[in-house]
């Protein structure tokens, strides 16, 4: 059964290679492209490539792929598992090499054509939008699948996958979500380059749709390819880290915190009040404002925790209600200056003048600088941050013998000293492009990293965190072991709320929304919901949360240009998130031993027993 499924996959890969564009050397702004394919280029709009640019090697390479597919189909039917594995490993390696060769040939040809044109006096390179495409990606992913399949042939293969289930389930869910998202896009939009052209054949239509889908995801992922794009992605990721942590923290204690949007809103309100109105000296103001953000979120989360602990009120609905209430409170504070209460006029000072609902500007001391100004103030590279990181890591890993509390204290001291010392060191001048200088990534990102570290240490290195996780895994057992469940519930919601509230440091104190140091009623509180996807995708692990927040940051950054180029709403990212949540909830449609820890343990035990039996067989003369 598994083998015939593999044959079907091979057929599918072959079909994709036949129909899909392999690479696109040339593309207009609206997406119309010149599509390369082994059966000849697909070019319904009649774009003209520069003279002398040919891709004749695609045909022969395609023949090699066909051979590879055929051999792979045969290899899986070999009787001996070892030789199956060896064959598949070799084929997978060959496939990867073939993909690398294709990529090399393509990029060389394109850059040669560009150079030739520039040498001939062109002002701009003629080929500016070029990329590999689905046909080649199919080969790449197929080769990776072959390598995985090879590992699966060897003993303990299934246990190997099950052990990695923390990665397998989210990644597989992501793939499924991408496939469904691609289907949605393909259904809703006409294929690229085929709209309004007379006499388009079926082949052009299919290729156009596949090109549309591939290009959509290329645009979505494109920010990782440039430094400004990366900064932009991390700017989008910063609040997601906070809200992802807020949701994860609840999950760890068995609570579902859907209230991150409200907690963020109230955190932002508190941060604004502190940042605008607190009469504190500069060096104290920023810490106070950051603390206020955490406090606001903690209050909003804590109310729900208390209601649950005291009255058993369901936290899911309550956090949702608190989101709506928080939105009302924000509007009340910032949408107008004057209100009528029972006929009396009440004036509020918070809304700044103007049509838009926004607060006054933060005081100078309450502003978090842009990341680029921390890394390179006045276009001079500063050693402060790098040295702080090195000193902190050195102190943390250099004093392994110390007790954790002292060790962390020392690390913090080392970090501060490193930062101060690094600031004094002479830097070197760097040039910062205007695209980079305009990115909104700010120091709040560093606070997010600290929050991740806090999450890690609190949950996995303290007894309070251990109790919290025990409460989440088995509340009755934790109760029996002496954990005060009610207090844990309140504390969890307080900390989760504080983490969500800290996201306000990005939007309000760091001007991460649009570059102005104000709180606006348009603050995108819905990133609190995105935190749910981040938490699930990151499997409630610190590194996982960071990676998934970054992934969504990249997608959000890419979504901005998607709308401009292809007329697809960037709401597609919200749909992708929903799909990822749904697919993770159903365990990626994988067998149950990937999601059920008991069954997973069973698989691993079986694999171990099998291995021991084999060892006993291969060394029969050993013991007796």
């Amino acid at each position: 059964m598994g083998r015939y499924f593999f044959l079907l996959v091979n057929l599918l890969v072959l079909l994709t290679m036949l129909l899909a564009p392999w690479a696109v050397p040339m593309r207009e702004f609206d997406g119309t492209g010149y599509l390369l394919n082994p059966l000849g280029p697909i070019n319904p709009q009649g774009l003209a490539l520069p003279e002398g640019l040919t891709f004749g090697w695609i045909g022969p390479v395609f023949v090699l792929w066909i051979l590879l597919l055929l051999v792979a189909s045969g290899v899986l039917f070999l009787p001996n598992a070892e030789s199956r594995a060896r064959g598949l490993y070799v084929l997978g390696g060959l496939g990867l090499a073939l993909f690398a060769l294709e990529a090399l040939l393509f990029y060389q040809a394109v850059s040669a054509a560009n150079e030739a044109a520039l040498a001939a006096g062109a002002r701009r390179p003629p080929l500016r939008r070029f990329a590999l495409s689905l046909g080649m990606y199919a080969g790449f992913f197929y080769s990776l699948a072959l390598l995985l399949l090879a590992r699966m042939q060897l003993p303990g293969g299934r246990a190997f996958l099950v052990r990695l289930r923390g990665v397998v389930v989210p990644v597989f869910s992501l793939l499924l979500a991408v496939v469904v998202g691609a289907l949605v896009v393909a259904v809703l939009r006409p294929g690229l380059g085929t709209e309004g052209v007379e006499g388009v054949g079926l082949r052009e239509l299919v290729a156009g749709k596949l090109d549309l889908v591939t290009y959509t995801f290329q645009i979505l992922f494109s920010p990782i390819l440039s430094l400004p794009g990366l900064f932009n992605s991390l700017a989008f990721a910063t609040p997601l880290i906070f809200t992802g942590l807020a949701v994860s923290f609840g999950f760890r204690a068995g609570l579902f915190n859907i209230g991150a949007p409200g907690q963020l809103t109230i955190g932002a309100l508190f941060a604004m009040l502190a940042g605008v109105y607190l009469p504190l000296p500069g060096w104290l103001l920023l810490p106070a404002a950051i603390l206020a953000a955490a406090l606001g979120g903690a209050l909003w989360g804590g109310i729900v925790g208390w209601l649950k602990a005291r009255f058993g009120a369901n936290e899911v609905i309550n956090t949702i209600m608190m989101n709506y209430i928080a939105a009302s409170v924000l509007l009340f504070m910032l949408a107008a200056n004057e209100y009528r209460f029972f006929g009396q006029t009440v004036r509020l000072p918070f809304k700044a003048e103007g049509f838009e609902g926004r607060s006054e500007e933060m005081q100078e001391g309450a502003r978090i600088p842009l990341m680029i100004h921390i890394l390179a103030p006045d276009s001079t590279f500063s050693w402060a941050l790098p040295l702080a990181v090195v000193a902190a890591l050195g102190a943390y890993y250099g004093f392994r013998r110390w007790e954790l509390g002292q060790r962390l204290l020392l690390t913090i001291v080392a970090m501060v000293l490193g930062f101060a010392l690094g600031g004094l060191l002479p830097g070197f001048p760097v040039t910062i492009s205007s695209a980079l200088a305009s990115q909104l990534l700010n120091g709040s990102f560093l606070i997010a990293i600290l929050a991740l570290l806090f999450y890690n240490f609190y949950l996995f290195r303290t007894s309070a965190g251990y109790e919290l996780r025990a409460t989440g895994l088995a509340p009755k057992a934790a109760d029996y072991a002496g954990v005060n469940l009610k207090r844990k519930t309140v504390l969890t919601m307080v900390i989760a709320g504080a983490l969500a509230g800290l996201a306000a440091t990005h939007y309000v104190l760091g001007a991460g929304m649009d570059g102005t140091y104000r709180l606006k009623t348009a603050i995108p509180a819905s990133v609190g919901f995105d935190g749910i996807a981040v938490a699930l995708m990151g499997q409630n692990m610190p590194l996982g949360i960071f990676l998934s927040a970054t992934l969504f940051g990249v997608l959000l950054a890419g979504g901005v240009s998607l709308n401009a180029q292809l007329g697809i709403s960037n709401q597609i990212i919200q749909v992708l998130q929903a799909l990822i949540i749904l697919f993770i909830a159903v365990g990626g449609l994988l067998p149950r031993y990937f999601t059920d820890p008991l069954r997973a343990a069973q698989i691993e035990t079986e694999a171990k027993a099998e291995q021991e039996a084999r060892q006993a067989k291969s060394a029969p003369a050993g013991g007796n």
């Binding site: 949605v184 809703l188 939009r189 579902f256 859907i258 209601l307 005291r310 009255f311 058993g312 009120a313 369901n314 899911v316 609905i317 309550n318 949702i320 209600m321 608190m322 709506y324 209430i325 009302s328 409170v329 509007l331 009340f332 949408a335 107008a336 209100y339 009528r340 209460f341 029972f342 006929g343 819905s526 919901f529 749910i532 996807a533 699930l536 007329g567 697809i568 709403s569 709401q571 597609i572 990212i573 919200q574 749909v575 998130q577 929903a578 799909l579 949540i581 749904l582 993770i584 909830a585 159903v586 365990g587 449609l589 149950r592």
Partner: protein
């Protein structure tokens, strides 16, 4: 007196979508499946109804006909039921965490309609206004949408189905003690699928009421928490049709009052808008009576 009458009709109009949704949720939760996705199902239903009616109007050249809004209603119910099916497959077949699955649907309901709207109307937040709305029926000194009448007539019907028919008995058994129900020969899985899909259909109808009955277009996130309030009404109403009727009337009254107070001198609109949500929290905290959920609610069923 005029204000009292206006408040009365406004309460009926506000309570109707809550009631429809809540009765849907009643089936789902009585069968043992938490349906936090009601909010999303309303939105999907509302979008489907408004877009369907608009497309028919475009195709027929703006024709006004008796049947057009009913097709829209059907589309809303169908799409709601389909979303219910997705939730059911996730929760029953794949034993997903019911709240996580529901949340996914709610998030999708914020994004998916926007993508379709962008393609059809080149705008991500509203659909085109429709001419063919669900008919109103006269009621005393005013008139209400026919779905309002339907919603209130459904209450005794649901009560009868749940408490006076064998199917209702089986449904309740499945939600209280699925193993016992299974030994008595009840198909637990099928009961749950039916109940969850039914809740999607009713929520979809509630959505259609919002977009082509109450208003004349779809607006992004137009349900504004109605699904969650319906869920709270379910808890407040002790998972009983008549209790749900009382609870939704209370919430509907709070919303109607909020609308009446808006623009007046008494309270600012932003605060008034938050009142139904605060009321919901007070209700959930048990300040206004305690209630016990079906015993097996939220738990996946293993044969």
């Amino acid at each position: 007196m005029e204000i009292v009458i206006a408040l009365f009709f406004s309460t009926l109009r506000q309570a109707a979508p809550l009631l429809l949704t809540s009765l849907g949720g009643l089936f789902s939760e009585r069968s043992g499946v938490v349906n936090i996705a009601l909010e999303g199902m309303i939105l999907f239903g509302a979008a489907a109804a408004a877009i369907t009616v608009n497309r028919i109007e475009v195709a027929t050249g703006g024709q006004v006909a008796f049947w057009i809004p009913w097709v829209g209603l059907l589309a809303g119910a169908l799409v709601g039921g389909l979303v219910g099916l997705v939730h059911a497959i996730a929760c029953i077949r794949y034993r997903a965490d019911q709240i996580v699955s529901g949340t996914a649907i709610n998030i999708a309901a914020l994004g998916a309609p926007s993508i379709v709207l962008q393609v059809l109307y080149n705008n991500t937040s509203t659909s085109q206004e429709v001419v063919n709305r669900l008919p109103n029926v006269p009621l005393g000194p005013g008139s209400v949408s026919i779905l309002v009448i339907v919603a209130f007539l459904l209450v005794p019907l649901v009560w009868w189905v749940l408490f006076k028919t064998p199917w209702g008995l089986r449904l309740r058994a499945v939600g209280e003690h699925p193993e016992a129900a299974e030994t008595m020969g009840v198909n637990v899985i099928r009961m749950r699928y039916t109940a969850v899909i039914l809740s999607g259909v009713l929520a979809g109808i509630a959505g259609a009421y919002l977009s082509i009955g109450f208003l004349n277009q779809f607006i992004r996130a137009m349900s504004a928490g109605a699904g969650f309030i319906a869920l709270a009404a379910l808890i407040f109403g002790k998972w009983h049709p008549f209790g749900v009727l009382g609870a939704t009337l209370l919430f509907g009254f709070a919303q109607a009052l909020a609308i009446q107070l808006q623009g007046g001198d008494i309270l600012p609109a932003t605060i008034v808008q938050a009142m139904p949500f605060i009321l919901t929290m007070l209700v959930l905290a048990g300040f206004i009576g305690r209630s016990r959920p079906p015993a097996a609610v939220g738990k996946p069923y293993d044969k």
